[in-house]
């Protein structure tokens, strides 16, 4: 653990001692920055819905929606899951999950995107294969 963290913890201890009992009985803790982030998340979600229903994008709207989802996910992790104040190793752990996911996606798609012919044409349902065989006969 770094010295900075230790220092911060000592400060926390100190303020905890000073804090009076009335504070502890309050109904809500300080709302910022969580409330601000929440408003931002709602705005992003609304944008996502608008983009999804806006016909200019066609079928590719989903890509824009996913990009918005990535931003929202980052906000949730940094603020709601407190990565902002967490030790570096925890950020590393969560990033490891994402990086390995990218490996899984990347190498799997390396197969599907480089198969011969049009994308999707190498997959046949048994029925398609039968009709083709009949046509050949």
């Amino acid at each position: 653990m770094s010295h900075a963290t230790q220092h911060r913890n000592d400060e926390d201890l100190l303020t905890a001692d000073v804090r009076n009992a009335a504070d502890r009985k309050a109904l809500l803790p300080p709302l910022m920055p969580e409330l601000g982030v929440f408003v931002a998340l709602f705005a992003l979600a609304a944008t996502s819905v608008l983009v999804a229903f806006w016909s200019a994008f066609g079928g590719l709207a989903i890509l824009a929606c996913l990009a918005i989802a990535v931003v929202m996910a980052a906000l949730v992790m940094i603020f709601f899951m407190h990565l902002r104040s967490a030790m570096a190793v925890m950020t590393l752990a969560s990033l490891a999950g994402v990086v390995w996911l990218a490996i899984l996606f990347g190498l799997t798609m390396a197969d599907y995107l480089t198969r011969p012919g049009e994308i999707g044409s190498s997959i046949q349902t048994p029925r398609q294969a039968e009709t083709e065989a009949e046509a050949a006969n």
């Binding site: 803790p29 066609g58 989903i62 929606c65 989802a69 709601f80 999950g97 390995w100 996606f105």
Partner: protein
């Protein structure tokens, strides 16, 4: 060596840490114990990302292979309920994050209130989900149905993924609700110290993850195929 002796050694080695019943005998001080608990949960969440990742990989492959079939099939999901559920989960994410903050400040009343709000929103989420499932069944939108309404074979792939993703997510919500319930009960009984224990923080992290997964499930299953 008895546990008491062990704890004493732990304290002397840990330096300034105050003695707390929450401190397990194999840790030096609370700071070390909290770091271990947080890191443990983050690592677990990384495994959860990869667990759902298997499903997302399947979605990615089939969406690339059959874009038309997927767009057509996705237009059949209940987008209104899905979007309301997104709003519910985002709000519960806020209340959970605030509950963690309140626990750090030792605000017991506030923690109990915020956990109760989180649980309430989660239950409404599940209720809406149940209603949605009921509607889906009514429309024969399950792959083994003889009256499955969509013609293209890949539509059944989409709907298989739909049931898997939402089902697994709902199971995670259930686990989260159970965890929150236990913590709420313990907080009410005053059976643990809010600042010395990691419980609220751990549950908050897990709930944040459940939120996170929904943020991707929502566009993939509900927002897909709306523009056409």
């Amino acid at each position: 060596m008895t546990d008491v002796e062990a704890a004493t050694i732990g304290r002397t080695r840990g330096g300034t840490a105050a003695s707390s019943p929450a401190l397990a005998s194999h840790f030096h001080d609370l700071r070390q114990q909290h770091a271990a608990a947080d890191l443990g949960l983050w690592i677990f969440l990384a495994t959860e990302i990869l667990f759902f990742g298997g499903l997302f990989a399947a979605y990615l492959v089939y969406a690339v292979l059959y874009p038309d079939g997927f767009l057509e099939a996705a237009a059949e999901t209940e987008v209104v309920i899905g979007t309301i559920n997104t709003a519910l989960l985002l709000t519960s994410g806020l209340s959970a994050a605030l509950a963690v903050k309140a626990a750090g400040n030792d605000m017991r009343r506030s923690v109990m209130l915020l956990i109760a709000v989180t649980i309430g929103l989660g239950v409404v989420f599940l209720g809406a989900k149940g209603y949605e499932y009921w509607l889906d069944f009514g429309h024969h939108l399950y792959p083994t149905s003889p009256d499955f309404p969509l013609a293209a074979p890949p539509a059944k792939l989409f709907w298989s993924l739909y049931w898997m993703m939402t089902g697994l997510h709902a199971i995670h919500i259930l686990v989260g609700l159970g965890t929150w319930g236990v913590i709420l009960f313990q907080a009410w009984r005053r059976s643990f110290s809010l600042t010395d224990n990691s419980r609220v923080r751990i549950a908050g992290l897990y709930w944040g993850f459940v939120d996170l997964m929904w943020l991707f499930i929502w566009p993939l299953l509900y927002l897909m195929g709306r523009a056409t």
